[in-house]
């Protein structure tokens, strides 16, 4: 469960100058719900995810994950609740370490112990897990991650994000840097993992069609505000053209172009 209550996020632009990205934004997501977040560039989608994960500090408001107030917690402590995948396939993995070592790092949250990280039993389990990705990584467990392709690396990052069974999954355009075929595979894996691990997921995307297909709820943001929140029958009736119309209407300006929303 995610509860974002009246959060304020602003960045310093220099001496005395401030740019407020999110102002009194609130959002509630039930346990096990998947929410797509769409909106034009600079709408604050990534900032919202960063605020929830603790990457950027909030100036006001509260953030609850699983009913606990995580607002004062640093990013590494919030990571106990959160699995994350970003757009950059390099961001979530240690490239100069093996696939198996990366999985060992991600298999559990919290402080480490003086214990062999990758015993044979763990390696066998991971070989099975990695085989499910369908990327042929099961034979490459002892290879460095930097040798993998972007798609393989992102699929691995996704597995790493859910492996420790966090309750919340935050995905920030995690298929945007991939070619269409790999984006399709990673998108499908995402759906499978969310169902298997019963995750509460926020997915930022620019792909309108995928936003509608993958989630039971679609949230549209613009200039730091939620301008539309569709779920249930309302969402089921919605199509891509409808989303674009909605965006133009909410933005209330003639010159709003499809491009603003779609890129």
């Amino acid at each position: 469960m995610i509860r974002v209550h009246d959060i304020v996020v602003s960045f310093n632009l220099g001496v005395g100058q401030e740019h407020t990205v999110l102002e009194n934004l609130s959002l509630e997501v039930e346990r096990g719900q998947t929410v797509s977040i769409i909106g034009s560039n600079g709408a604050g989608k990534s900032t919202l995810l960063n605020a929830i994960a603790g990457t950027v500090p909030v100036r006001g408001g509260k953030i609850f994950l699983d009913d606990s107030d995580v607002t004062p917690l640093p990013e590494w402590e919030r990571a106990m609740y959160v699995g994350r995948v970003r757009q950059d396939p390099m961001a979530g993995t240690a490239g100069d370490m093996t696939v198996l070592d990366n999985l060992a790092l991600a298999s559990r949250k919290g402080p480490r112990r003086f214990r062999i990280a990758t015993p044979p039993k763990f390696a066998r389990e991971m070989a099975d897990r990695v085989a499910e990705l369908g990327m042929g990584l099961e034979d490459r467990l002892r290879e460095n991650v930097s040798r993998l392709s972007g798609g393989q690396r992102q699929a691995l990052t996704l597995l790493m994000a859910v492996l420790s069974r966090p309750s919340v999954l935050l995905l920030d355009e995690h298929t945007a840097a991939l070619d269409p075929a790999n984006a399709e595979i990673v998108g499908e894996l995402t759906r499978r993992f969310i169902a298997e691990f019963n995750l509460t997921a926020l997915i930022v995307t620019h792909d309108m069609k995928r936003a509608l297909d993958q989630a039971g709820r679609v949230v549209m943001m613009h200039e730091g505000e939620i301008i539309a929140d569709l779920s249930g029958a309302e969402k089921e009736k919605m199509d891509v053209a409808g989303l674009v119309r909605l965006f133009k209407k909410a933005r209330g300006s003639e010159y709003a172009e499809d491009r603003d929303l779609l890129t």
Binding site: A94, A106, R108, G110
Partner: protein
């Protein structure tokens, strides 16, 4: 001659292991070594001296190992200072290292009792220990070498094991991608502090061994050790390519022996080319440049 090079190479390889941990594993360019190495030498010499003067035969026998332990701890303490300055005050790694190294010059003088150097009463306590340890089976210099090999082998085994533990893996990941470590719910600064302490405890141990080997500790022992350590690590990387931590550790020992052999050659036969002992630092610098150049060029070829 050969045994001398090997002994020196092995003793200083432990220093280079520390440089490997900070520069390569943690990606933390740490100059603290210039302070932690002589700190280890000073603490090691003082403790070994005190223990060897003890009336208790047992304490006396353990003089050198006790000194080594003291050196290890003293080096780790220097590392702790650097890590704390870096984390608490957000001082960049290089500056944090310089601060600690500068401060430790005075601390080392205090450890040595206000004098710039401390001769050990027993001329070469390490040699003595080694000789008694090997029970006269080998000639004394060679038995000294045998004990150095034993110590290095033990250290290699422990470090290799360490880097296969959860903590070791996390440390490796920290130098590679801090974000991945944070996502695993690990407090990165605490982990890095342990790493930097290890990266300086090893040079401290090396310093204590060097002091015992030479028969004295000197406050200026640390000058140029970072460069020497880096040259060692890079030479090892030139000789052995590997992504496996075991081989990466092993090649540090190899690099150290090659480095000492090159330095020995320059000292002994350098006069042919007009090289004097004054030029050894320049040689070290050129060695680092050459290593970087060769590995860059080699990478392009691949």
């Amino acid at each position: 001659m050969v045994e001398g090079i090997l002994v020196e190479g092995l003793i200083y390889s432990i220093l280079a292991l520390g440089v490997f941990v900070s520069f390569r594993v943690l990606d933390f360019p740490d100059l603290t070594v210039e302070g932690s190495f002589p700190a280890g030498a000073a603490a090691g010499a003082v403790v070994a001296q005190a223990a060897s003067l003890s009336p208790n035969a047992f304490v006396k026998a353990l003089a050198v190992p006790a000194g080594m332990l003291a050196g290890f701890i003293a080096g780790g303490a220097a590392g702790f200072v650097t890590a704390t300055v870096h984390h608490r005050l957000k001082v960049p790694p290089l500056l944090a290292g310089i601060v600690t190294m500068t401060g430790f010059y005075s601390i080392n003088l205090r450890i040595l009792g206000g004098k710039p150097n401390l001769p050990l009463i027993t001329n070469n306590p390490m040699l003595k220990l080694a000789r008694s340890f090997m029970g006269g089976i080998l000639p004394s210099e060679w038995s000294l070498l045998a004990s150095c090999i034993l110590i290095c082998f033990l250290l290699f085994g422990l470090l290799d094991l360490f880097f296969h533990t959860e903590i070791g893996i996390a440390m490796g990941a920290l130098g590679d991608n801090e974000n991945a470590v944070i996502q695993a719910g690990i407090q990165p600064n605490r982990l890095r502090t342990w790493g930097i302490m290890l990266a300086n405890a090893l040079p401290g141990l090396s310093g204590a061994m060097a002091a015992a080997y030479q028969g004295f500790a000197d406050v200026n022992l640390g000058q140029g050790v970072v460069a020497a350590g880096l040259a060692t690590v890079m030479l090892g990387e030139l000789v052995v390519h590997s992504q496996f931590i075991g081989l990466q550790l092993a090649r540090v020992f190899l690099g150290s022996i090659i480095f000492r052999a090159l330095m020995y050659a320059a000292r002994s036969w350098g006069y042919v080319a007009g090289i004097t002992p004054n030029d050894l630092r320049l040689l070290t610098a050129l060695l680092i440049i050459a290593s970087v150049a060769i590995s860059r060029y080699g990478r392009k070829q691949r």
